[in-house]
């Protein structure tokens, strides 16, 4: 079970004079169970890229293989692909339309042509996975808070039981608390179900804590594809393309330059704390 992206390019509005190449020869393999952070600043092509993965946008050249099948084959079942590769758009709460939350979450599985029992079962399961209070299930989605609406929208995609879940800037426009809640519940979800998750963001800080692999896009090109530790080690290069490593990386590097033997590869605040404490204890021990 994997997605192989084979050298895809994509150009917007061919032949109108407004042509713009959004993707340039992107190659990568998305393995089963990966937790990927896709990073790039605005206009780097990350949103265009993820829309290729479930066939919403067709590459100008190159192809994508889903479990060994070419998705541009004319016999390929696009509906199956869209149910297996769940895509949660930016501000997904803007797609809610039903009179109550439960019905809205049923929309996805209903489109798959499943029997009513199965549809409702999946909807319940999805709503429970995103941690929405059960009292809210039969309320209008428009009465909810921003963070809650977003959970409902994510549940709407999860209800199709995808193997791969792609979230485009799931924390955009949320306050720090809402952001942590959403990211934590995505992490929980990943641990409970083991699905592949791709988290799209322009902030290293957000994803560093969660993912095991980071892809960096710049100007339509996939520049780096590595583990967070390796990516952040080259934070000087990241700065050149307008991105930054997490703040702890800077602190740890500064400490090291100031003569403390700390681990510069610490990614989260917690790891940094451990490393600094260990170092300080070492100093005290000697003294």
């Amino acid at each position: 079970m994997s997605i192989i992206v084979d050298n895809i390019s994509y150009t917007y509005e061919i032949g109108t004079g407004f042509e713009k190449q959004a993707l340039k020869n992107v190659k990568c393999v998305i393995n089963d169970g990966d937790f990927i952070g896709l990073i790039g600043h605005t206009g780097s092509g990350k949103s265009t890229f993820i829309q290729h993965l479930n066939g919403l946008v067709k590459a100008t050249s190159g192809t994508i293989y889903f479990n060994g099948m070419d998705i541009y084959d004319k016999d390929f079942d696009m509906k199956m692909l869209r149910s297996k590769v769940g895509l949660v758009f930016q501000y997904p709460e803007h797609q809610l339309f039903e009179t109550d939350i439960f019905k809205d979450v049923c929309f996805g599985p209903k489109n798959l042509g499943l029997p009513k029992m199965e549809v409702e079962l999946r909807a319940f399961e999805a709503l429970r996975l995103v941690g929405l209070d059960e009292n809210l299930y039969y309320q209008s989605p428009f009465d909810l808070s921003g963070g809650q609406k977003r959970r409902v929208a994510i549940a709407g995609v999860l209800a199709m039981r995808p193997d791969v879940l792609i979230l485009d800037e799931p924390t955009a426009g949320l306050d720090p608390k809402g952001r942590d809640e959403i990211l934590d519940s995505i992490k929980d979800l990943k641990e409970k179900t083991g699905i592949t998750v791709i988290l799209v963001s322009h902030s290293m800080e957000d994803v560093a804590k969660y993912v095991n692999r980071i892809m960096v896009m710049n100007d339509g090109v996939l520049m780096y594809d590595d583990t967070p530790k390796h990516i952040f080690a080259g934070y000087r290069e990241l700065e050149q393309i307008g991105l930054a490593a997490p703040q702890v990386t800077y602190i740890m590097n500064d400490l090291k330059n100031a003569g403390f033997a700390v681990d510069v590869n610490a990614i989260t605040v917690e790891e940094a704390r451990q490393s600094i404490l260990k170092n300080l204890q070492g100093i005290h021990g000697k003294a």
Partner: protein
């Protein structure tokens, strides 16, 4: 699909037509439409074609771009052509199955097609060469005399400019919502009419909600900047006629007189 609609779009370039006063272009479009419906004669349409071709050439807008706007109305044009072709009485030319095609029908269908195509090309040429702000400025000033009759010209112009401004935004929004629902397995392309109409609900509801939300935000932003209608409001760049505008008015007047001349000289003959 939705991006094919070029009506209301602006094509950025620098040309004589782009620089004309919007009032001239509005008047020009009006005159163009009048001449288009003046009569039914091949010579008349030849004149209209020459005029349109010259303006397109001057405007530096690629013809491909203007023609693309026709895609959206192909069905409408086909309908009117087919109905005119088969349902006009007159001298029969030939029969297909139970339908009779008449000489008058062929002429009428051809004229109808040309009229519709030119109508869309002409009016989209105006929006392609005029920014929405310019266009509404032109309307506001051009129709300013209606203020005497207590017509809220400024308010209407403001509404129009907002509406025009929001067309591309709403198109983009529709595109986004469609994609989001397609990602949830929605299918807009198969099934019977009833099913397809029903499939529109998941697009229309979020679209309306977002339109209302945007309207609300815009109203708030305008009020925050003390907008209170036309009373005492001045323009940063007031419209003033230049030399080119006067020449353009003369050309338009000449064109109209020539076309009326041709039409009366022909006296209702087709060729």
């Amino acid at each position: 699909m939705l991006r094919d609609i070029t009506i209301g779009q602006y094509y950025q370039t620098d040309s004589v037509i782009h620089r004309l006063d919007p009032r001239v272009k509005l008047m020009g479009t009006l005159i163009f439409i009048i001449t288009l419906f003046l009569g039914k004669s091949v010579w008349l349409y030849l004149g209209v074609t020459v005029f349109l071709a010259a303006v397109i050439k001057l405007s530096k807008v690629p013809v491909k771009f203007i023609v693309k706007g026709l895609k959206a109305v192909v069905i409408l044009i086909l309908f009117s052509v087919i109905f005119n072709l088969f349902l006009t009485e007159g001298t029969p030319v030939f029969h297909i199955w139970k339908l009779t095609v008449t000489k008058e029908g062929i002429y009428l269908a051809a004229f109808m097609m040309v009229r519709l195509i030119f109508l869309i090309m002409g009016s989209s040429l105006m929006t392609l060469t005029t920014t929405p702000t310019h266009l509404t400025d032109g309307l506001e000033k051009g129709l300013g005399f209606l203020k005497v009759f207590h017509v809220p010209v400024h308010e209407i112009a403001m509404m129009m400019s907002i509406a025009l401004r929001f067309i591309p935004i709403l198109i983009e929004e529709t595109d986004k919502i469609m994609k989001a629902q397609m990602a949830r397995g929605a299918d807009f392309e198969s099934g019977n009419l009833m099913k397809r109409a029903k499939a529109m609900i998941p697009i229309l509801v979020p679209l309306f909600i977002s339109a209302f939300r945007r309207a609300n935000e815009l109203a708030m932003a305008m009020e925050a900047r003390c907008y209170h209608g036309s009373e005492g409001r001045t323009k940063m760049k007031p419209l003033r006629y230049g030399k080119n505008d006067k020449i353009a008015y003369l050309v338009l007047a000449g064109y109209l007189i020539v076309m009326i001349g041709i039409n009366t000289a022909l006296g209702g003959r087709v060729i």
